[in-house]
């Protein structure tokens, strides 16, 4: 049977998945583009949490991936490896954080431009305006 630690892991994992589901729901179903952008950032942030979980180690003396000994020998390195978390997921995450920021800037600028063109940020209204425009041309 599952111990207390496993029960906690299950609960935490389910909540992360629920957060992801909520973010995807907002991304698909909410009409306002700024809310879609905010939900996109939440989705990305939740994926960072998932990555951090994948790199974490489920044991007690656990330390970050930074070696404090600057002249290590084999024994200290082995000890360090036995405690450290995985450095690869945070590496993937860091560039993702910064690139997400730049893409969000791009999306916000595009959203402001869209507002200048259509006068609204509601995608349903924009679709209606586009339909009217197309009907007028025909």
């Amino acid at each position: 049977m599952m111990g207390i630690g496993e029960v906690f892991w299950l609960y935490i994992w389910l909540i992360i998945m629920a957060n992801m589901g909520l973010a995807i729901y907002g991304l698909i179903m909410r009409p306002n583009i700024l809310k879609k952008i905010a939900c996109l950032t939440v989705l990305a942030d939740t994926s960072f949490i998932v990555l951090a979980f994948i790199g974490y180690r489920f044991k007690y003396p656990v330390s970050p991936y930074i070696m404090t000994n600057w002249a290590p020998n084999n024994a200290t390195i082995t000890h360090f490896i036995s405690e450290s978390v995985d450095p690869l997921p945070p590496t993937l995450t860091i560039t993702a954080v910064v690139i997400n920021l730049s893409i969000t800037i791009l999306l916000v600028f595009l959203a402001i431009r869209l507002y200048e063109v259509y006068g609204t940020l509601d995608v349903k209204k924009i679709a209606m305006i586009k339909k009217e425009l197309r009907g007028g041309e025909k």
Partner: protein, 85 residues
């Protein structure tokens, strides 16, 4: 030995973040939505700190709590404040 205290903290903070995201997704006032989004980012930063990824925490706090909030608030000021749902 299992670090149960850390797991309890993680569970509580993630639960609060779930509530925050729920309120955020169904909030009609976009300014309130942005404030809730910043609160969610703070909780996530704590989670990342407990999961021992200090680099990501440093980048994440600056970006998610500071810049996203300012950027989205600016966009709300330039566009419309309420979402018709």
């Amino acid at each position: 030995m299992i670090p149960v205290l850390h797991l309890v903290m993680l569970a509580v903070i993630l639960g609060v973040s779930f509530i925050t995201i729920f309120l955020m997704v169904f909030e009609r006032d976009l300014l309130k939505m942005i404030v809730l989004s910043a609160a969610q980012s703070t909780f996530y930063a704590i989670v990342l700190y407990i999961l021992l990824v200090p680099d990501v925490v440093l980048a994440y706090i600056a970006v998610a709590v500071g810049i996203y909030t300012a950027l989205l608030m600016f966009a709300v000021k330039k566009t419309e404040r309420f979402e018709e749902a």
